[in-house]
């Protein structure tokens, strides 16, 4: 049938959209982790000014809609900083990542705060510096506690990545919209797009839940056996 042939025709193009979407999500998750983790530690262990600055950051990035953040950075801040030549993909990934860091930092902060203070006391009593104690005692525990909450960042970022359509990133929604305009086949293409997003969504979650099981420790956190 027509629709099927057209879909097959466009298949490579569709694949590139999927790849771009996944690229956005993975870079954003990675950047969010890279920034979110130190931010969480700063909020728990940092001095008052450090905590204050991180608090403002979190408030800002969680208070603005993703669409407004994308517009602000794409049209405003990056060109103003002389980074106007950055491709839309990079801007999308960075904005999703900066925003993800704000959310992730709160997940990690909750995890760090849920660890009993005895862990730090015992570590310090053995002669560990604060940094060593954080690195070898607090963080490995916090990461495990945070993982279930962190996994839920994946579907959030995946569905938000579609908003990068607004700045012209050639991700899945953009590609399928172009297909709609050019083929005049509307519903089947949109529904196919929804199907692909749903598969990416729950498929990714499955992988993450598998990871949770792999690093589970007997009697510890959510990985209780």
């Amino acid at each position: 049938m027509d629709v099927l042939l057209i879909l097959i025709d466009w298949f490579p193009y569709l694949l590139s959209g999927i790849a771009t979407t996944l690229g956005l999500v993975l870079s954003a998750l990675g950047l969010g982790l890279l920034l979110g983790l130190p931010m969480a530690l700063g909020q728990v262990y940092g001095s008052r000014p450090v905590r204050w600055v991180i608090g403002i950051y979190v408030w800002f990035f969680r208070g603005l809609p993703i669409l407004v953040l994308l517009f602000l950075f794409w049209f405003g801040i990056f060109p103003m900083l002389g980074l106007g030549a950055l491709p839309a993909f990079a801007v999308g990934a960075v904005v999703l990542g900066l925003r993800g860091a704000a959310y992730q930092s709160q997940i990690f902060r909750g995890a760090v705060q849920s660890i009993g203070e005895g862990q730090m006391i015992a570590a310090r009593s053995l002669g560990m510096s604060r940094l060593t104690a954080i690195r070898s005692v607090i963080l490995p525990q916090a990461m495990r506690i945070a993982l279930p909450g962190w996994s839920n960042e994946y579907p959030n970022i995946l569905t938000d990545s579609a908003v990068c359509y607004a700045i012209g990133v050639a991700e899945l929604l953009t590609i399928t919209s172009r297909m709609v305009t050019q083929t005049h086949i509307t519903m089947p293409i949109y529904l196919a797009a929804a199907g692909i997003f749903i598969i990416l969504n729950y498929g990714g979650l499955k992988v993450l839940h598998g990871l949770e099981k792999r690093i589970a420790i007997p009697g510890f956190g959510s990985g209780a056996v």
Binding site: Y45, W59, G63, E117, M120, D160, A166, Y190, Y202
Partner: protein, 228 residues
């Protein structure tokens, strides 16, 4: 034209117009999102068989689909099969579906957390199952779901901006039009951002007050280890 004149004569009036549309979007979506969310949660939990499956599938599909795509389907897709919405209606329908699906998850979690004894006690008094759900289980569950529901309300405020992508000139759309016309991008979007921050912050404060009134005292932890 200087920045002050631009801000006060052009930008702010435009944003106020947009803000009104944003508030209308929220006001039209939130109550139905809550009601629909309750219905789905109850249907999922107590409906049994087909109803339960339908509710579950609805949540699964909506949570798996980006909201923006859902709006495209409603606004661009449905006319292709003969159903036409205005942009505003399409937005509101999209927000209700999305808000309801996420609310339902929180309410269901709360329903599960209410002990079986409550239902049994109510039925022992001669209430029907539906009366017990309505008058005993739900009032308790909704209380417990308040933190999650408020979170979703705040998301609704922010995601209402996506209506602009299907041509509703709400707050961010108004900012975008001004920004493009006057080439003042950073200023315009910063102003839009501030308005959202104010909306979200006011809501957060209000929600915290609400949550404190249902919170259990004496559950906060000291953080002496943080000083070590």
């Amino acid at each position: 034209m200087d920045l002050a004149a631009f801000t006060f004569d052009i930008l702010l009036p435009a944003l106020m117009q947009g803000l009104i549309i944003t508030l209308q979007l929220i006001a039209c979506s939130a109550p139905f999102g809550l009601a629909f969310g309750i219905a789905i949660a109850v249907g999922r939990q107590y409906g049994g068989g087909a109803i339960s499956w339908l509710c579950k599938t609805f949540v699964f599909l909506i949570k798996g689909t980006p909201l923006l795509l859902l709006l495209f389907i409603l606004y661009f897709g449905f006319p292709a099969i003969g159903i036409t919405f205005t942009a505003f209606t399409a937005s509101v329908v999209g927000f209700i579906l999305c808000n309801a699906a996420y609310n339902a998850e929180y309410i269901r979690g709360a329903l599960i957390s209410i002990k079986d004894g409550q239902m049994i006690a109510a039925q022992a008094l001669g209430m029907t199952r539906w009366q017990a759900i309505r008058h005993v289980v739900l009032p308790q569950a909704l209380r417990r779901a308040i933190p999650g529901l408020s979170n979703e309300f705040i998301y609704l405020i922010k995601y209402s901006s996506l209506a602009y992508m299907i041509t509703v000139i709400e707050l961010s759309g108004a900012g975008k039009l001004v920004a493009t016309k006057y080439f003042l991008y950073t200023e315009s979007f910063a102003a839009v951002g501030i308005v959202y921050l104010v909306l979200v912050t006011i809501t957060t404060v209000a929600v915290n007050i609400l949550e404190k009134r249902v919170a259990i005292p004496g559950t906060t932890r000291g953080t002496t280890a943080a000083q070590l």
